[in-house]
């Protein structure tokens, strides 16, 4: 039992550090969100620059969600990642088709 408790202590320490990382992630996500709203709210740049930038900010945020909040970076998530990337690929094709290969 004693040994078990010790390993529990170790796990607790581990998840505490994990939690710290997640707090940083959250702070970054808030900053990115505010940045995105500022870009649009202040109209500081042209449409051609703003739209790609907004998309990049969104992609980074989503990456944080998946990899830190949803633990996709952890061990044992290989198959989950395969299916998410599969879905993302199908999603990309779908969105491209419906925006580009369509009558206007």
């Amino acid at each position: 039992m004693a040994e078990n408790t010790k390993s529990n202590e170790f796990h607790k320490q581990q998840s505490k550090e994990e939690m710290k990382k997640q707090l940083i992630t959250f702070a970054l996500m808030i900053i990115f969100t505010i940045l995105a709203f500022l870009i649009v709210g202040t109209e500081m740049m042209s449409k051609m620059v703003a739209i790609p930038l907004l998309l990049v900010l969104a992609l980074i945020q989503v990456g944080f969600q998946f990899y830190y909040f949803m633990h996709l970076k952890d061990k044992g998530h290989g198959m989950a990642a395969v299916m998410i990337y599969g879905g993302v690929w199908a999603a990309f094709l779908t969105v491209m088709a419906l925006t580009l290969v369509i009558w206007w």
Partner: protein
């Protein structure tokens, strides 16, 4: 046995994945999210194809205000963090704190949904912008409404989980259920990130 609550002594590092049922639930939900990605992509694609088809009605630039959307974004983003906290306490076998954080998550979700209902109400009454007024209207309400429906479903799911397990404590039977809920909830936030970027911010830019 599954009915026995977990104690610090028998607590595995990942209670949500300690049983085969738990592992199956975990993977099944991830795969489901893969499918959901395509579901929302189809809705986004439809929206992007129809976003300028206003049929003489208000356009996205005239319609959208940033303040409310910012508030909604903050509510949902924070609820994502609170559900991370809940899972943190689950792994430390602190049932009460887990329930507390899950409760906060739920409240933030309710706040988000309230804002969304107000937003739709506002569009319908101040702009006469409805589901039937144009293809843009149909696409907008369908995309955002599907997301709202997912939030609503998540809230029902969360309440059922919390009420059912309020007096039981954490065990290997319900830990996977809490964990799958939290994954689902994060995914709702992922979709919202794209909605506020693609629908509202890009709609405002034009």
């Amino acid at each position: 046995m599954a009915d026995h609550s977990l104690t610090p002594e028998n607590m595995p590092q990942h209670p949500e994945k300690a049983t085969l049922e738990g592992k199956n639930k975990f993977l099944g939900l991830w795969f489901f999210l893969g499918g959901e990605t395509v579901l929302f992509a189809s809705l986004f694609g439809t929206y992007l194809a129809l976003k300028n088809s206003t049929a003489g009605g208000p356009s996205s630039q005239e319609l959208f205000g940033l303040e409310l959307v910012f508030l909604m974004t903050m509510l949902l983003l924070t609820s994502s963090l609170t559900s991370v906290y809940a899972m943190y306490h689950m792994k430390n076998n602190n049932f009460k704190k887990m329930m507390l954080w899950l409760g906060i998550t739920g409240l933030l979700g309710v706040g988000f949904l309230g804002c969304e209902i107000y937003e739709f109400y506002h569009y319908i009454h101040s702009f006469e912008f409805t589901f039937r007024s144009s293809a843009f209207g149909s696409a907008f309400y369908t995309l955002v409404g599907f997301h709202g429906g997912h939030v609503l479903f998540g809230l029902c799911w969360l309440s059922a989980l919390m009420i059912r397990n309020a007096k039981r404590g954490l065990n290997l039977y319900n830990a996977p259920k809490f964990n799958t809920f939290s994954l689902y909830w994060h995914f709702i936030d992922v979709v919202w990130v794209f909605i506020f970027t693609v629908v509202y911010l890009m709609g405002k830019v034009g």
